[in-house]
Symmetry: C2
Subunit: 415 residues, 2 copies
């Protein structure tokens, strides 16, 4: 299947850059769509107008098969852009707006549809500016910006087949896609409630950026992460996402962690606060990676290993400074490791992505440990802190083993 | 597909137990075959004779669908047993001897064949006692024990179809399977060089037991494991395999490890020797599990977690006893842990079973670490030992990271 991307817009009110090349959520709008569609689409047909050169040069570095067509009359309306794609597609194809931002969830659902994908309850766009659709019996009755009587919003995403060109050719060249599909009485397919949007103002851009980061939060977060760290890390990510790579953030958080550990030698309080800061920053790489579709196994791998090293260094230096607490310190270091190890090894042996929900509510995840360590360091109770972390982590490990035993032996095979 | 298992033999020379119910390599001969065939076969037809009651009662606990038929005239020869299976199979079916031991590799190849599975170079059986086959143009010309002119050995494993019963019915009731297939001029299919055998004497039993354990050794072993530990652990496994479960062996090795750590408080030398003993015993659970087809994810999971705990306890107690070595001790504990963690986490993130061969020759695996620790403890160089383990393990971790970087980034995607 091929996809036609209409990118012949006349430029945005934002700046003189073509909208499809604006970075939102860490990635150019058009590239996000291409990445998300790349599993379903084998070639992209991009129709560009005024910004043909910029878009062409941008696409040169893009690893997806594509062809770029020049629309010499972008002022005629986007229907003419669609017409230009006629000779490059056959059978079923996807049509989408190059300046709309679609989320992974939206595309996953939309790709299964047929006709115009419409949204019945759009939460993320400005209804005033939106193209409204009146559908009757699953087909378009009317479509347009000012429509008073409407039941859906046009998402700018279509699953068409080449019969649309017969309709298009009956109409004059200076029509819009809306005119063509109204005339075709195209089917509508509802995909409601997922994030997609069109950006027109600086405000829209910021909002879209923020929503993409917010939706990239993992649902396996611990309590401290959920109620404290994420509130801060997402704001940092939103500020930085269009400027840094996830790997850079991994190293920023790692370096902060190293500094926090060595700061202990000068001030326990400063070290503790920096440790908590590194834990907050530790959320940013994942947020940026997921929001900008740059999540990678190597990123996850190196991030988790650096976490282990920072934890070891922080607790190890503290153990050195308080040798009388060596016993709980060793168990705290061991337990902190084992929380991760028992979880990862479980995935390896049982080939599952996560352990059952039962461990989800156990306290002792990294965000929670770091926070507790910080609190007790600030209060000066180092020995007590070691005991608490030792107990908490080793208890969590024990409960993990019991859970695995229950899940896999009671309900699974026996050895 | 169904499988017919001939288990109407008149009893062995070994003892009065029916041969199919003898435990070899930790599992009854007939149950091994059933387990290995269970992915290919949906019902087992077991023909029993003199030992019908024993076999029937044994099969009651077996989790595979089966039907047991009584042969009232086992003295007539095993051809009559085959005839009795006629009404219970249709189309293609497997026929095998209930008293033969087949390895996983043999069955994997044999199941793809057609006709009589023959072995051109049997390494594990007594040619004098074996049934010899003369095949010409892929079909049986002659078959029998005393045959002078032969090119194959009968493995007692067949892939037949129900046309064999037409031939069988033309022959008298007191014939052997050999007589029937000779008359049918059955096809032969060569599967050579894999372990399979028939056991007649105590000697045979021991040999088969040993071969099954030897072939269960993992090829990811470290140097110490390969040249020292396995020589001893396989002998222990061979002695115990028909008496203990893998889980019991896991606990024996774990308890030995715990004792070794606490022994340090009384004698470093005794502790060190016991630690090495626990490392040797640590091989037995896996050997027994694989040889007896009882390998389980939970077994692998709990075994590796107990290893981590024993290592931590041993090095932790030593660190306590030699507080001046705390710095290298902490890094030795950390590095030992990270050797496992970086390997397991790699499997999780990249969905691969093992890291590339490149890390295979890095020293620092558990068997090697334990051996080095033992040596230096015996010599009394505790501080040096901690430094060596700290360097060795952390170097291995570093090289693992570099390898992952090379394999996954140079050759894979980029973040």
């Amino acid at each position: 299947m091929k996809a036609v991307i209409l990118a012949a817009g006349m430029g945005s009110r934002l700046n003189m850059k073509p909208k499809p090349l604006l970075k939102v959520g860490g990635i150019e709008i058009i590239l996000r769509s291409m990445k998300l569609l790349s599993n379903h689409v084998d070639e992209f047909i991009v129709v560009a107008g005024k910004f043909y050169d910029e878009i062409k040069s941008f696409l040169e570095d893009v690893p997806f098969k594509h062809r770029i067509i020049k629309n010499e009359h972008p002022e005629w309306g986007n229907g003419y852009s669609l017409k230009l794609a006629k000779d490059h597609v056959n059978g079923k194809f996807v049509l989408l707006m190059g300046d709309h931002i679609y989320s992974e969830d939206f595309i996953r659902e939309a790709i299964r549809g047929e006709g115009l994908i419409v949204d019945g309850k759009p939460s993320y766009i400005d209804i005033e500016e939106a193209t409204r659709v009146k559908a009757v019996n699953g087909r378009i009755e009317n479509i347009g910006k000012g429509l008073e009587d409407y039941n859906f919003i046009d998402t700018g995403f279509f699953i068409l087949d080449d019969s649309i060109f017969e309709v298009a050719n009956r109409l004059p060249d200076d029509v819009s896609v809306s005119d063509i599909i109204r005339d075709a009485r195209l089917r509508v397919y509802e995909v409601s409630g997922y994030f997609w949007t069109d950006v027109d103002t600086e405000e829209d851009l910021k909002k879209a950026n923020w929503l993409l980061i917010e939706s990239s939060i993992k649902d396996t977060d611990g309590l401290v992460s959920r109620y404290i760290n994420r509130k801060i890390s997402t704001r940092i990510s939103a500020l930085l996402i269009n400027r840094v790579t996830p790997t850079q953030m991994t190293f920023v958080s790692f370096i902060t962690g190293l500094i926090s550990a060595f700061s202990l030698l000068f001030s326990i309080q400063a070290g503790a606060l920096l440790y908590q800061l590194s834990s907050i920053l530790d959320g940013c790489d994942g947020e940026i990676a997921r929001a900008s579709l740059r999540k990678s196994p190597f990123g996850g791998y190196i991030d988790s290993i650096m976490d282990r090293f920072v934890d070891f260094l922080f607790l190890g230096i503290l153990a050195f400074m308080f040798p009388s607490s060596l016993l709980p310190a060793l168990f705290a270091i061991f337990g902190s490791f084992m929380v991760s190890y028992t979880r990862e090894k479980y995935k390896v042996e049982f080939g599952k992505k996560t352990l059952e929900d039962r461990t989800k509510y156990l306290i002792g995840k990294r965000d929670e440990r770091v926070f507790i360590i910080m609190l007790f360091c600030l209060l000066g109770y180092i020995n007590l802190m070691f005991w608490i972390i030792a107990l908490l982590t080793n208890l969590r490990v024990l409960l993990t083993l019991v859970t695995v035993w229950r899940v896999e032996i009671s309900e699974g095979g026996k050895r």
